[in-house]
């Protein structure tokens, strides 16, 4: 057998249960998503006019209702595809080093290997390959489901189901894998490492999410409430002052501009001011990343998260090189 084949088989045997569990989860989730996609497409095929929420044709009530119900259930599946990369990344990553330390196989493996970094690279490479393969399937299937749920949207220019479909599903999984490997290497015990890694993942991805929102603000536009978002991503609410300056609500308060009444998108200090143009404090606005920026934003976050994954793997290598086996 070739060295590559031998590496694949041995690596699989060392991670058999994690890999099989992850594959089974992806298979089940993908099958469910494809079933919903098929059902939704069948309904949409019956009468395409009935699944366009902007223009329901008369007599569509029953079909539209059924489509809505199925879409709602499909939405739940999309949340699972959002969560899957984190769960799979941690399930595959945490035991890599921690189980070796816990089961005392690290001493043998590390002295057999030409270097610990080489040992880790070989092990991570296999898990990364498995993860990429499985999450690619999930990413593609979730795109298929999204296109069935939103038959009238151009999903390549739309932030709907952001992070629940496409390439982000894959890179987020790699990043979770990096967290799992690193914390497994630091703690050297599977269960504690898993618990800490879950907490660390939540913190890291919250930080990435907040950071991305700040980053996207430079690309965002201001638009009045109620205007079609056209696939854009809502970042938050802002106030546009009569001078044209745009500030957030916190800043509005800090400037002592309290308001007690809103009509349409206009803010007034007191209810009795409503309707008086010269008493308008400001206008309620949406901060929106335009839909056409979707590919660019996905690429940007993929770069950030993918870079984090590489850094985590390098940190794990540094820990493995220095840590003592039991």
């Amino acid at each position: 057998m070739s060295r590559f084949g031998s590496w694949l088989i041995l690596s699989f045997r060392l991670h058999r249960w994690e890999v099989l569990a992850s594959a089974a989860a992806v298979a089940l989730l993908s099958a469910a998503m494809l079933w919903f996609a098929w059902q939704l497409r069948t309904l949409a095929g019956t009468d395409p006019g009935c699944v366009d929420p902007t223009a329901y044709a008369p007599g569509c009530t029953q079909l539209a209702q059924r489509f809505y119900e199925l879409s709602s259930k499909a939405e739940w599946l999309s949340y699972l595809s959002w969560m899957a990369p984190f769960v799979m990344g941690l399930v595959l990553g945490v035991p890599l080093v921690s189980r070796e330390v816990e089961h005392r196989t690290a001493g043998m493996a590390w002295t057999l290997s030409r270097s610990r970094a080489w040992w880790l690279a070989m092990r991570i490479a296999f898990l990364a390959l498995v993860l990429i393969g499985l999450l690619l399937v999930l990413a593609l299937v979730s795109e298929v489901l999204a296109s069935a749920v939103f038959p009238n949207l151009h999903l390549d220019r739309d932030f709907s189901w952001y992070g629940r479909r496409g390439g982000l599903v894959v890179v987020r999984g790699l990043s979770a894998l990096g967290i799992g490997v690193l914390l497994g290497a630091v703690l050297g015990r599977v269960l504690p490492a898993l618990l800490v890694a879950i907490a660390a993942s939540i913190l890291l991805f919250t930080a990435v999410s907040l950071g991305m929102d700040r980053w996207m603000e430079s690309d965002a536009i201001i638009q009045p409430f109620g205007v079609d978002r056209a696939g854009g991503r809502l970042l938050g609410q802002r106030v546009q002052l009569p001078s044209g300056e745009v500030i957030d609500y916190g800043e509005l308060q800090r400037r002592g501009l309290s308001y007690e009444a809103i009509q349409d998108d206009r803010l007034y200090a007191k209810p009795e001011d409503i309707g008086q143009a010269d008493k308008i404090i400001g206008y309620d606005r949406e901060l929106l990343v335009p839909g056409p920026l979707y590919p660019q934003i996905v690429l940007r976050e993929s770069g950030l998260v993918g870079g984090t994954a590489v850094l985590l793997a390098l940190a794990a290598a540094a820990v493995v090189t220095r840590r003592r086996p039991r």
Binding site: R3, S6, W7, L10, R13, L14, R16, H103, R104, T105, G107, M108, A109, W110, T111, L112, S113, R114, S115, R116, W118, W119, M122, T321, R324, P325
Partner: protein
């Protein structure tokens, strides 16, 4: 047999765990190339710690170590190329077969001699398709030894591999080790707290007690240069090393062989175990005291 050139060395090696627990206290040791050296001492004497500093698993708190002249903390891969290591309790991968372990070794170390390791296991009748989980303790130890031997390393470091084996498995293990070392001209350091096991296999003896070296000599010289005094005879002699209780509760004292001028009665040759016990008795001070 040893050539006299040191291949494993320590220089004022001290290792402390936490703030107060000294495992090793200022050890200077030079193990010559070739043959098998027994590293003997009671539990917690620091045997594993000493071996782990050579493998690069434990950084010294003070002093340094070299393996074939290389400092493992400066060039770990250089040291690992020289060393085959058998850990204390041979831990194999439950999910892999014996042959899988050999394949894994080839994957991790491209110059691993799989055929040699396989042949060693064949001689012991250990089938390659058996899962590691289903092997007996003795067989697992043999697989761990075969993995270390397959590296064709010049130095074998064996960290109490006999501790959990039954007498027959111990004998087989030592036979394989002795045969491999003799035929390959390697150097082996075998740690154990069971002296009788290593007596037949080893050329040299290092007695480690409470973190320091109590004796380092060839087995032949250790036997030739010590005598045992029974029931207090010569117990106050300046050549007395240490006293301990005999099998029947009698007081035994290990002596350096007296000069011809000294007339001491009730003496008999000491066994290797008695030599070790005498030195261990002499070293009953705590590592903290020794470190101070």
């Amino acid at each position: 047999m040893s050539t006299g050139l040191p291949i494993l060395e320590t220089h004022d090696l001290a290792k402390r765990y936490g703030r107060h627990t000294w495992a090793l206290t200022g050890i200077d040791l030079a193990i010559p190339q070739g043959g098998i050296t027994a590293l003997v001492g009671p539990n917690a004497a620091g045997k594993s710690t000493l071996i782990k500093t050579w493998v690069g698993f434990e950084p010294p708190t003070r002093g340094g170590v070299t393996v074939g002249g290389i400092d493992p903390w400066k060039d770990r891969s250089g040291v690992l190329a020289l060393v085959g290591y058998v850990p204390q309790s041979p831990a194999l991968y439950d999910s892999l077969s014996v042959n899988d372990h050999l394949d894994l070794a080839v994957m991790l170390r491209p110059n691993f001699d799989r055929a040699y390791a396989r042949r060693r296991l064949d001689e012991l009748g250990i089938p390659g398709d058996r899962g590691a989980r289903s092997l007996s303790g003795g067989q697992q130890a043999q697989v761990a030894l075969a993995l270390a031997l397959g590296t064709r390393a010049r130095i074998l470091l064996l960290d109490e591999p006999l501790a959990s084996l039954d007498p027959l498995a111990r004998r087989e293990f030592l036979h394989v080790l002795t045969d491999a070392v003799r035929s390959d001209g390697a150097t082996a350091l075998l740690s154990s707290h069971i002296v009788t096991d290593v007596e037949q296999a080893c050329d040299r003896l290092v007695v480690l007690g409470v973190g320091r070296i109590l004796l380092h000599d060839s087995v032949a010289e250790a036997l030739a240069s010590h005598l045992l005094a029974t029931d207090g005879a010569a117990a106050t002699d300046s050549e007395a090393i240490g006293s301990f209780a005999g099998p029947a509760g009698e007081r035994l004292t290990l002596l350096r062989r007296p000069t011809a001028a000294q007339a001491v009665t009730n003496l008999r040759p000491a066994s290797l175990e008695e030599v070790v016990l005498g030195y261990l008795a002499s070293g009953r001070t705590s590592p903290a005291e020794a470190a101070a």
